[in-house]
């Protein structure tokens, strides 16, 4: 199917070039990859490579991570992982929800209607290159509540990838599908329902996955810059008091949330497009 299955392996001749690598089952290599990573981390700490002497080892980190999951305060005397997570997830969730609810209808409208495409899209194109995090000070001035300013920054990050991908999805529609609908007696509304929306779903999902990635960057940056509570905030506070153990835990937690949220959207996307699994 893909090139690495058919000719890649033979072409690179990995087995001939590296005769020491036996043909082991794939999970063995994958496990080795993770172990190598942890080994490198441990080694860097052990030999005090660059500033790594400040960083805890993998074993210490796992122990501290378990404690945090059991509810120990993240920073001494501070809030637990769960309290911080509650704030972060609420901010990011509201921002993502708002982004999806506005960008998808707008994208469908702009992709579908020439008027909106010509008169609305350029204004958005002007705003698009502004990195979401650059909105932080403006949001802090503009909104009186901290929640609203961080949600706004996340929203800006989520909005544009979804908007642009939805528009592209709508515009990429095959002419023959449009013709098929009209020659079967369908109306413009039928076209929208039976062709435009379903065929744009996969690009909407792509846009949402990208948007959520940027949303997480935005929430972490905003919390580091201005937050009270939140995993990004806790991570940065820990750095200021040189609690590197908590810094590392914060990064792991943020990575886990990022992975979970994009996996969830991808799963949802596959559920919404059962026909796409069959192609390839």
């Amino acid at each position: 199917m893909s090139i690495s299955d058919s000719v890649g392996e033979k072409w690179l001749g990995v087995s001939q070039q590296l005769p020491s690598l036996p043909a082991l089952p794939r999970p063995v290599y994958k496990g080795a990859s993770i172990l190598l990573f942890l080994g490198a981390w441990w080694l860097f700490v052990a030999i005090e490579f660059l500033g790594f002497r400040l960083i805890p080892t993998p074993v210490e980190t796992i122990r501290a991570l378990v404690e945090s999951i059991q509810g120990a305060p993240l920073t001494s005397g501070g809030q637990s992982l769960y309290t911080h997570s509650y704030y972060t997830i609420m901010r990011v969730g509201l921002g993502i929800g708002l982004g999806i609810c506005t960008a998808i209808p707008l994208g469908l409208l702009i992709g579908w209607s020439n008027v909106f495409d010509r008169y609305l899209l350029p204004a958005f194109e002007v705003l698009r290159p502004i990195p979401p995090v650059a909105w932080v000070p403006i949001a802090l001035i503009g909104f009186t509540s901290e929640l609203m300013s961080i949600v706004w920054v996340v929203f800006v990050g989520v909005f544009f990838p979804i908007l642009i991908n939805t528009i592209d999805g709508v515009k990429d529609i095959e002419t023959d599908y449009v013709r098929a609908i009209y020659s079967l007696g369908g109306s413009r509304i039928d076209l929208f329902r039976h062709v435009i929306v379903p065929s744009a779903i996969s690009s909407m999902v792509t846009g949402t996955v990208i948007g959520i990635g940027i949303g997480w960057i935005a929430v972490v940056a905003a919390e580091m810059i201005s937050g009270n509570y939140g995993v990004g905030y806790a991570t940065y506070q820990a750095y200021r008091v040189m609690d590197t153990q908590t810094v590392v835990i914060g990064i792991i937690i943020l990575g886990a949330y990022g992975a979970l949220s994009s996996a969830f959207v991808s799963l949802l996307g596959r559920r919404l497009t059962p026909w796409e699994r069959l192609e390839s």
């Binding site: 893909s2 090139i3 690495s4 058919s6 000719v7 890649g8 392996e9 072409w11 690179l12 001749g13 990995v14 794939r26 290599y29 994958k30 990859s33 993770i34 190598l36 990573f37 660059l50 500033g51 790594f52 960083i55 010509r118 008169y119 609305l120 899209l121 350029p122 204004a123 002007v126 705003l127 290159p129 502004i130 990195p131 995090v133 650059a134 000070p137 403006i138 802090l140 001035i141 503009g142 009186t144 990208i210 990635g213 940027i214 960057i217 935005a218 940056a221 580091m224 810059i225 991570t235 940065y236 750095y239 810094v247 590392v248 943020l254 990575g255 886990a256 990022g258 992975a259 994009s262």
Partner: protein, 259 residues
């Protein structure tokens, strides 16, 4: 056929919608600022004034140069590393299994979250900021390169092979050109994410345009915030346009990028 002036008039008319649209945006901004709907938001005019007075200052120049360095040096490094790595991962299953799982553990971490560790581990602030922008650009380029290589039509490889091509020929004549559109997509997304992370890193680590904006905020010079944000937007836009333009020049054969 028609006169040059006629053509120009036509193209001006064609772009009238853009002018109308952007004027509409500025009008909405003015409206929000003038009736105080948004707390002490500076209007378009003060912002333009601030931009004009900011332009000739030495502080602005050094900030722009610093930010561009913070973006382009790591961006080029990320490209130089991610493209070969992506090609190798795309071609060899064993190499993929050995390398990719580790990278997949690092990928979901929002790049900006690395900033505390970067500041602690790396010797200078400059290096820390560059590490963050590097992380922003690296993964989009890597993933799109892998995807591009995976989807190369195997018959292209076979065609080059049966014309007597060596492995190097296969790579240069079939795999790289066929994967180029996807790599280019990664380069464009990577540039965008480099800027997203740059601003965050600069605000936190106190450097470049991010610092300029943040200082304007802490000193209460609100017009300068907006001016700084607009400059960041312009530079980010110019950077992405540059990447797109280079890509289009290198791939004139590709119908999708040409249109």
């Amino acid at each position: 056929m028609s006169a040059v002036s006629g053509f120009n008039r036509l193209s001006v008319l064609e772009h009238a919608n853009v002018v109308v649209s952007i004027l509409g945006l500025v009008f909405v901004w003015w409206l929000l600022a003038v009736n105080g709907a948004i707390n002490s938001l500076p209007g378009p005019l003060p912002a333009v004034n601030a931009m004009v007075s900011m332009l000739p200052t030495g502080e602005f120049h050094s900030s722009v140069i610093a930010s561009l360095r913070h973006v382009f040096v790591p961006y080029l490094a990320a490209t130089a590393l991610a493209v070969p790595l992506g090609v190798a991962i795309g071609l060899s299953l064993t190499f993929r299994d050995l390398v990719f799982p580790s990278l997949e553990m690092l990928r979901p971490v929002p790049p900006i979250a690395w900033i505390p560790i970067a500041i602690l581990v790396l010797p200078t602030t400059l290096a820390s900021i560059m590490f963050i922008t590097f992380m922003g650009a690296f993964f989009p380029i890597l993933l799109n390169t892998i995807r591009g290589v995976e989807r190369v039509e195997p018959d292209y490889v076979k065609a080059v092979q049966c014309l007597g091509g060596t492995r190097r020929d296969v790579l240069r004549q079939a795999i790289l050109p066929a994967a180029l559109p996807s790599i280019h997509t990664g380069l464009v997304i990577g540039m965008g994410l480099a800027w997203v992370n740059l601003v965050a890193a600069e605000m936190i680590a106190d450097a470049g345009l991010g610092r300029l904006i943040w200082v304007a905020y802490t000193t209460g010079n609100y017009a300068n915030i907006v001016a700084g944000v607009i400059f960041v937007g312009l530079l980010g836009y110019a950077s992405s346009t540059l990447v797109r333009w280079i890509g289009q020049r290198r791939m004139s054969w590709n119908v999708e990028t040409a249109s």
